[in-house]
Symmetry: C2
Subunit: 347 residues, 2 copies
Amino acid sequence: MAVSIKDIARIAGVSHSTVSRALRGSPLIPAETTRRIRLIAEEHGYSASAIGRSLVSGRTEAIGVVVTSISDPFNGEVVAGLEESANAAGYSVILATSQAQPEREMAVVKSFQARRVDGIVVASSRVGSNYLPMLQKLRIPVVLLNNQHPDEVTHSVSIDDARGAYEATRYLVQLGHSNIGFVGDKFGLHSDFERRKGFLEAMREVGRPVPDKNTVWGDGKVEGGYQAARQLLLKARPSAIFCYNDLSAVGALRAAEMAGLAVPRDLSIVGFDDIEIASLVHPPLTTIRQPRRELGIKSMELLLKLLRGEQAAKAMLLPGELVVRSSTAPPRAYQSISAGKNSATKS
Amino acid sequence: MAVSIKDIARIAGVSHSTVSRALRGSPLIPAETTRRIRLIAEEHGYSASAIGRSLVSGRTEAIGVVVTSISDPFNGEVVAGLEESANAAGYSVILATSQAQPEREMAVVKSFQARRVDGIVVASSRVGSNYLPMLQKLRIPVVLLNNQHPDEVTHSVSIDDARGAYEATRYLVQLGHSNIGFVGDKFGLHSDFERRKGFLEAMREVGRPVPDKNTVWGDGKVEGGYQAARQLLLKARPSAIFCYNDLSAVGALRAAEMAGLAVPRDLSIVGFDDIEIASLVHPPLTTIRQPRRELGIKSMELLLKLLRGEQAAKAMLLPGELVVRSSTAPPRAYQSISAGKNSATKS
DNA sequence: CTGAAAGCGCTTACAG
DNA sequence: CTGAAAGCGCTTACAG
């Protein structure tokens, strides 16, 4: 075992109480004694055990963080924000993965509980407030980040999905589009619902209720987006598609290519998230940027507030930002409409 | 504070020793008593404190993991592999960030030490074995992943940089290239050195020693790669460029575009890593794939072996894999050489 | 100023 | 089978 406070006490010829005080800088101990003890501790590579300290303080200075997957670059940025502000406040981050499985999420939270973390952040929770009663018994504050099972009980920080989708749709409408398709995410739960809501609302506002055949669901990944967009192109022939996320949008891009449609000339495509690849695909995607790092930072700050016993907002919604790139343009529809008129004239 | 073993003991009307035994499934306790105690514990939401247990066991079942940055997608995959195998073995991962700063890396390792983690993995270490003496005193096993300060003391798992670079270069040579440029990474330390070594070796083997003007350094990112490649194109006019990593290669791609060179017709470009964007840029990059997740898995497996007190290889080198996409082709050099001859004839 | 004592939540050898 | 005791590494109120 590592060198303990007792070892230092023996070497310094004092009691371990005195060592503890000296190391913590207690004003009770004269400067000279403190100096001497610290020197000895240093020499012997002493490092105070957080375990021992935790046992008496009742705090671990550790925060448990659950994400669905770490290899997902979206989460990488979120975790970076979480780690950054936890670290700045002197907390360590214990990171675990839920694989988007509610049971694993529960298991992970239980292990955090056993480790007596001071607080927990769950990103993209699939469980939501179901385990709250359990945690409330232990008084472990929890913050849900982009929660997929919203409620009014837990503290949460989320992207404003509905507003982002609304703005993306408004932008398409302003470009002149009216027949717009929606590629959702069948696993997207709450965020799928909210983004669709924002989309539908924007369309309703301009008197363009969306027919059923204009909404279709992928899986939030490229392949599912491709399949969904393909269907959409066959059935609804939209001049623009608003996609649940960038990965779906990349799939839609491929579907357009396969169908011989040029983006944005023949078809406009908008994504959501602004992950790295959004700006790297061809053409670069117009999308709604999620402030990923900020989501992490704000969540951790909220949690730290709770740990300090301060009052904090129950739910915090961060706005996304429309990033216009090259996958969107006015529709050719005008031309085909006028072409239509011409032919109407002719007939 | 949370409900403790004593609380359960009081409620069950037994000593806390008996509760501990029942909970741990000691054969000393009769089945009925065990059942009853467990039921009570369950009812009261009891969760054994890992802190208390650690204090007596001397183990925390926690592994400290240091990466330079979590938002870097390369590390995301590595951490995913680390977390996956740690978790499978019942260990938690404490994650921290070095920001590629040696001092921060040291600080992080010290905090891990204070937390008494059972082992440590440091990815892309900037410190290397310098803190080993300190850790050896504490007997905390350390595994360095893609270490940037190699030595023979520590256990390590790394990509075989030299071999990957060698193979990438051989591939270009086989395509017919002979004037090949190298875009290095001035911060790349060991891996820059090794990749350049593999590159030079492959060139030497085919009797094409590389003139100084053919090697130039970026910063491992897009911007630096762009600047470096621009210089290279001006001074050495190579028909192919082997880049330190994919980000540099993306920069080189831009430099080619700015110079009016078509890739791969006028210029072949090869990257290293195979991060996501490698396949998404235009044209998709030929590159050497690093088995990122596997680097994480192997590192953690090595560490777990050490924790079990088993013998393990000091240094493990994982091979990369050449992934041929569309940024490479035979050189036009043949043609320009003949063009050169023509003009020579003219003059 | 300093030490002995108690206690945080556990585990386990020891005694019965 | 079961409990009292000791101890893991700390902190801190208490007594001197």
